[in-house]
């Protein structure tokens, strides 16, 4: 549990220095920070599920309205911020809002940390000014596609976001621009895929993730992600049927916008986008009754 330990240590130091606790730095102001550890549930990233979890229940999302700002934790008005916001705060406090706003684009100010993974030479976390072209992130900071290969596709915003193609490389890293390109900046996780990637398999893993993380509260998400995962498994492992891509699209229709919370909705976005751009690869899997990319997997280095 190194992260919790680090945080606990930091909090102890802050408390010892009088930054938190009673009478902060003699100001008469009391504030404290309590570290409450979760226990493994992606759904708790949904703000109401987080509150439900803090209250000791299963981390299932709640009906909105009422919104947390009106009725949140223990029924009291609650502000929910993520780490990204909190991490930005000290810098804004130290340097002033103008300094922050001077960076980025008119629609996306300041900076953002991008977590880059996949087939780049230097994966990792990069803090960049908003609006920086995606090309710069992947090719300069990430050192380009590994093994001298070329880019097949990338996913710009985390597990749920729609796939983008090399033609989108000059899109800037900001919310509006990425949305215009047909995806979302979401959580700021950039997954890069080289030409050898089986996109069906990537979608399969992501769908299995959503299946695993569905809280099970609502029907479309609970049953739909399970069904989609089954379909992806059989396509990837050579047992797909000709109607499967359309069945997946139809399932997406019945899940997206019908689920209780965005987790269910979002489970369909990447799969649907890859069926749109890479339908031929699905068909190849089905016709050849095997994954055409299997031979090219990376061995353990």
């Amino acid at each position: 549990m190194p992260q919790t330990e680090l945080l606990e240590t930091a909090l102890e130091e802050a408390r010892a220095a009088g930054y938190i606790g009673r009478n902060v730095l003699g100001s008469g102001f009391d504030v404290d920070v309590l570290l409450h550890r979760g226990a493994g549930a992606y759904i708790c990233g949904e703000e109401t599920a987080l509150l439900t979890s803090l209250e000791g229940y299963r981390g299932e999302p709640r009906l909105k309205p009422p919104f947390p700002a009106v009725k949140g934790l223990y029924g009291k008005p609650t502000v929910v911020n993520n780490v990204e916001t909190l991490a930005t705060l000290p810098h804004i406090v130290r340097n002033g809002p103008d300094w922050f706003a001077a960076m980025g684009t008119p629609t996306g100010k300041g900076t953002r940390v991008w977590c880059m993974s996949g087939h780049v030479n230097r994966p990792g976390n990069y803090e960049l000014e908003m609006g920086t072209p995606i090309r710069e992130l992947i090719y300069e900071h990430g050192g380009g596609i590994w093994k001298g290969r070329s880019l097949k596709a990338f996913q710009p915003g985390g597990a749920s976001m729609m796939v983008l193609l090399p033609e989108h490389l000059d899109v800037g890293l900001d919310f509006d621009a990425i949305a215009k390109a047909g995806s979302m900046a979401g959580a700021g996780a950039m997954m890069v895929m080289d030409e050898t990637t089986c996109i069906v398999d990537v979608a399969r893993r992501l769908v299995k993730f959503f299946e695993h993380e569905s809280c099970g509260k609502c029907t479309p998400c609970r049953e739909g992600t399970y069904w989609m995962a089954n379909l992806f498994d059989r396509i990837e492992f050579g047992e797909g049927k000709p109607g499967d891509p359309d069945l997946l699209l139809d399932m997406g229709y019945n899940i997206d916008g019908r689920s209780f919370c965005p987790l269910g909705d979002a489970s369909t976005w990447f799969p649907r986008s890859v069926i749109k751009y890479f339908r031929d690869e699905f068909e190849q899997h089905i016709v050849e009754k095997a994954c055409p990319f299997r031979g090219e997997r990376e061995a353990v280095a």
């Binding site: 609970r222 049953e223 992600t225």
Partner: protein
């Protein structure tokens, strides 16, 4: 000019409807006769919107909205039958059925299953799900009453919400998550709730079923009778479902004023005790042996013996007998035999304490409108009328403070002086204590103090109202110094003959060993009862009568509500109890000519004006007495 109103007007499928603010789309549509399919929604539970069956289009909202959880707004435009909605309804049913076992032919819910019905109306023709279905445990015994089939469960959360919001026991819970989610009790321990039968009624599929009812019948084969639960003085309304003249189950028949739509397991699962095994004939003891005779002979024999004892006769009535029977029985005893020794009920002295009408009785539903309720006697009171707990828990959720106290002193302390409306709930046997507590509280608190007393048996209240006790006549009329003695004093009072009238195996005469010895010494024991009884050995005349579920008449619940009971099974040649009582009276020379229970009721009304034929189903209003 803007008019401030609490009403909003919206359009559903092109029709305009005006409803109160805070109405759900679902209910607004219902008002127009537009049915929106649901699974998880339940009128008595908080909306959770988990099943997603009820999604509809609402103009200006990008996503389909759950009609069961979205409140109406002025000018809202709702569409429930668009192509989009229908295509999705197909989809959600396909999801629900994907892993459903589809074992309808052997499912107890078949024929009355919302999942089955909605699949016919809104569902896809065939499923595109062609994987092996998820397997979960089937026929898991949740308790000695309930079986759980986890494959059939659609995870609507109704049972778990019942456990949390209705009974408050929090015994059922969701376990695991996502596709592995199941419902169950902690560590699969047997469920202990007294309200489990309700789970089977609210479950929209055949996941929770009663072990008793399992595979007994298909719903369409059942004969359904609207009657009252024989369990206790709560007077919960039930449907008694029978097949081939055998009772198959009791189901709730919602009466918001009484049961709020729920039953307890004691009442619900009491029906097997009423099953008649074969037909009995009357018997008369001759030379020490019981011989079968005709009703006429038996009634004549009873009359002959009773005439000898006359005023030295005592009559014990079941608190499960109808008002009509009790009225006749007390006439037989008082008018024909001229005896004052009447009593009823298993408890001792209950009848003797009720000496005036309970004018200030608190209606059951008004418990919700108190600010403090004293449960004097705690769990014992609940045990005597279990559904009361559900009403009290509901009240508590609404903010009523319910104090469980054992004695009057604690009760008095529990309620603060600023209380606005105080309710005392206790057993009728503790009436003297309640009387004095009520007086003290009335002096202590600002607001009103009312009480709800729980008698023994489904018609204990009727028995006291009709004067079936030693101290008061029908309608609490004074006996002008001719009061009789209560059951414990009969021996001392020189009683020589005993007429016992049982009506329900749940509320039989319970004789102590000592009492049995006394009965053995009596010169006459007439036993009118629905089925063989341990007292048969001591009886001189046995008159087989009908059980609670086999007869027509009225009974009065704890709050004074006079409700109709109807025969759910046909007892054929077994004579109606009122006819037997009339027959015995006639054999004793009385000129009675009632043709049916309604005629008896008409007569009863004359003696007890609070009981009115045009107000059956409502509470008897004593203060309106002329």
């Amino acid at each position: 000019m803007a008019v401030v109103t609490d009403q909003v007007t919206l359009t559903v499928d092109g029709q305009s409807v005006t409803v109160a603010k805070g109405t759900l789309i679902l209910d607004a549509a219902k008002k127009l006769g537009i049915e929106i399919p649901i699974f998880c929604s339940h009128p008595k539970m908080e909306p959770v919107a988990v099943c997603r069956m009820c999604l509809v289009e609402v103009e200006k909202m990008p996503k389909l909205q759950p009609a069961c959880a979205v409140y109406v707004m002025d000018g809202m435009v709702v569409r429930t039958r668009t192509e989009q909605v229908q295509r999705y309804q197909n989809g959600v049913l396909e999801f629900l059925l994907a892993n459903h076992p589809l074992d309808c032919p052997i499912c107890d819910k078949g024929g009355e299953c919302p999942l089955q019905d909605q699949t016919y109306t809104y569902g896809p023709g065939a499923s595109r799900y062609d994987f092996p279905k998820k397997h979960f445990d089937k026929a898991v015994p949740l308790s000695d009453k309930i079986l759980l089939d986890r494959e059939r469960c659609v995870l609507c959360w109704r049972c778990t919400r019942f456990s949390a919001e209705i009974s408050g026991e929090r015994e059922l819970a969701l376990i695991q998550r996502g596709k592995d989610t199941i419902i169950g009790t902690f560590n699969d321990q047997p469920a202990r709730s007294e309200y489990q039968g309700n789970w089977t009624e609210i479950c929209p599929v055949g996941a929770l079923t009663s072990r008793q009812y399992r595979f007994i019948s298909r719903p369409w084969d059942l004969d359904r009778t609207a009657t009252i639960c024989p369990g206790c003085s709560m007077g919960c309304n039930v449907h008694a479902d029978a097949r081939h003249n055998r009772l198959g189950r009791f189901q709730a028949r919602e009466n918001l004023a009484v049961d709020d739509g729920w039953l307890c397991d004691f009442g619900r699962y009491s029906f097997p005790s009423f099953q008649r095994e074969g037909i009995e004939r009357p018997r008369v003891r001759r030379d020490g042996r019981l011989e079968e005779v005709s009703y006429e002979e038996a009634m004549a024999a009873a009359a002959q013996s009773l005439r000898r004892a006359g005023p030295a006769t005592a009559g014990w009535a079941s608190p499960a007998a109808t008002n009509e029977e009790l009225f006749l029985f007390q006439r037989l005893l008082r008018e024909v035999l001229a005896t004052p020794h009447l009593d009823h009920g298993r408890g001792r002295g209950e009848a003797a304490t009720a000496l005036e009408p309970d004018d200030a009785a608190l209606p059951i539903a008004d418990l919700e409108r108190c600010d403090h309720v004293l449960l004097l006697g705690g769990q014992a009171v609940i045990d005597a009328a279990p559904v009361l707990h559900l009403r009290l828990f509901k009240s508590e959720r609404k903010g009523v403070r319910v104090h469980r106290v054992d004695d009057a002193r604690a009760a008095l302390e529990a309620v603060p002086a600023e209380a606005q409306a105080v309710g005392i709930v206790s057993s009728l046997g503790r009436k003297p204590e309640v009387d004095s507590l009520q007086g003290k509280l009335a002096r202590k608190v600002k607001g009103s103090v009312r009480r709800l007393l729980v008698p023994d048996g489904p018609n204990g209240r009727g028995a006291t109202d009709l004067g079936f006790g030693p101290g008061r006549g029908p309608g609490y009329a004074s006996l002008d110094g001719k009061a009789g003695r209560a059951r414990p004093d009969w021996e001392a009072a020189g009683v020589r003959a005993l007429y016992l009238f049982e009506a329900s195996p749940l509320h039989d005469f319970q004789a102590s060993g000592e009492e049995r010895e006394w009965i053995q010494r009596l010169e006459t024991v007439v036993l009118q009862r629905p089925r063989p009884s341990p007292l048969d050995d001591l009886a001189h005349v046995i008159l087989p009568g009908r059980a609670f579920v086999e007869k027509a008449g009225t009974v009065t619940n704890m709050e004074g509500r006079v409700q109709r009971i109807r025969p759910a099974i046909d007892a054929a040649v077994v004579r109606d109890d009122w006819k037997i009582l009339q027959g015995v009276a006639q054999a004793l020379g009385a000129d009675w000519r009632y043709r049916d229970p309604d005629e008896v009721f008409a007569d009863l009304s004359r003696a007890v004006p609070a009981y009115r034929a045009d107000r059956i189903g409502e509470r008897a209003l004593w203060s309106e007495r002329a």
